[in-house]
Amino acid sequence: MDTHDAARSTEYRVAHLQDRLASGELGELGVRAEVRGGAVLVTGTVPSAGCREDVLSTVREELAGLEVHCDLVVTETSSPDHAEELS
């Protein structure tokens, strides 16, 4: 693989996306991006709808031109409906 191809490799682009999500202004370590066949699957739970939009926009920017499937959910904040009994 020549250097031109390496720079365009999906694997490296996904790795750079993860790095940017974690180390950039989002500080998002809970989002996972994986190469699945010819597409990229982005999964995880984020604290707010705003965070979800920020992550999606970063994903679109970093992975422009690639097929991306996103399944990001926003954290639930409801009270529990039961307790666990520990013996």
């Binding site: 500080g27 739970t45 604290p47 707010s48 639930e76 904040t77 409801s78 009270s79 666990e84 520990l86």
Partner: protein, 253 residues
């Protein structure tokens, strides 16, 4: 019976201000205390810490917290700690605190903990200075946890809980990529818990992990990262046992 509410990884910021408060306001009805298992903020800024502080101020149950790696990101961990303490929370790092629940005394020992991995696949204190320091930090955290749990035993607590951000066991990481386990926890924490004894260990950090695990010594472990429990908090009911005496672990059948 002691009712322990716990959650970690709430990752608050200005845009989530007030989102947990409605659920937290129900705590006096269902819990004797609230444990916060670190990663309370996104970037560890003082502004984010103030959002957390407003969320927990005057809750009506004692709040005991440890910080997580996110709470260290802005290098303001001392200020973050001060903001949370000002809101009434106990923030532990190699320390312990005792909370009253009716007639019972609940001891909580806490540390952020650190990585390094688990038995058979763990980092060693060898090679480059930064690698040695990585393992030493994990060891210092675990030593602090063990000492804090032992202190609670000497004080004769009815129930002892180990509160960490990083995981003491691999079981509660199931769902995370195996390759990153060394960054998610350390067996040194479990060894400290099993050596000093505890009735429950609570941690966060692993968003894709699972809730239930156990140490080799039989201490129940719960991963309460908010994405894992899918709620504002979970509640665990712990029976009050007769105090087992210094150095002894409560026998189980």
């Amino acid at each position: 019976m002691i009712r322990i509410a716990a959650v970690g990884d709430i990752h608050m910021g200005p845009d989530t201000r007030g989102s947990l408060r409605p659920a937290f306001d129900t705590l006096p009805e269902c819990a004797d205390l609230l444990l916060l298992a670190g990663d309370l903020t996104r970037h560890g800024t003082v502004e984010e810490a103030r959002v957390v502080a407003d969320e927990i101020r005057g809750l009506g149950v004692p709040v005991v917290a440890v910080l997580g790696n996110h709470d260290h990101h802005d290098d303001r961990q001392d200020e973050v700690t001060a903001v949370l303490r000002d809101a009434g929370a106990e923030v532990l790092e190699g320390e312990s605190t005792v909370v009253r629940a009716g007639d019972a005394r609940v001891g909580v020992a806490g540390t952020k903990g650190f990585g390094g991995g688990f038995v058979g696949a763990s980092a060693g204190e060898f090679g480059e200075p930064v690698m040695k320091e990585f393992v030493r930090l994990s060891r210092r955290c675990a030593d602090g946890l063990r000492t804090a749990l032992e202190r609670l035993d000497e004080e004769g607590c009815d129930v002892r809980v180990a509160l960490t951000h990083y995981s003491p066991v691999p079981e509660t990481l199931a769902g995370e990529p195996l390759e990153i386990y060394p960054f998610l926890g350390s067996y040194l924490l479990a060894e400290a818990i099993d050596t000093a004894g505890a009735d429950l260990a609570v941690h966060g950090h692993a968003h894709a992990g699972t809730e239930h695990g156990m140490t080799t010594g039989g201490v129940k472990v719960r991963n309460v990262a908010q994405p894992v429990i899918g709620r504002a908090f979970h509640v665990y009911h712990l029976p009050v046992r007769a105090h087992a005496g210094a150095g002894a672990r409560t026998p189980t059948v």
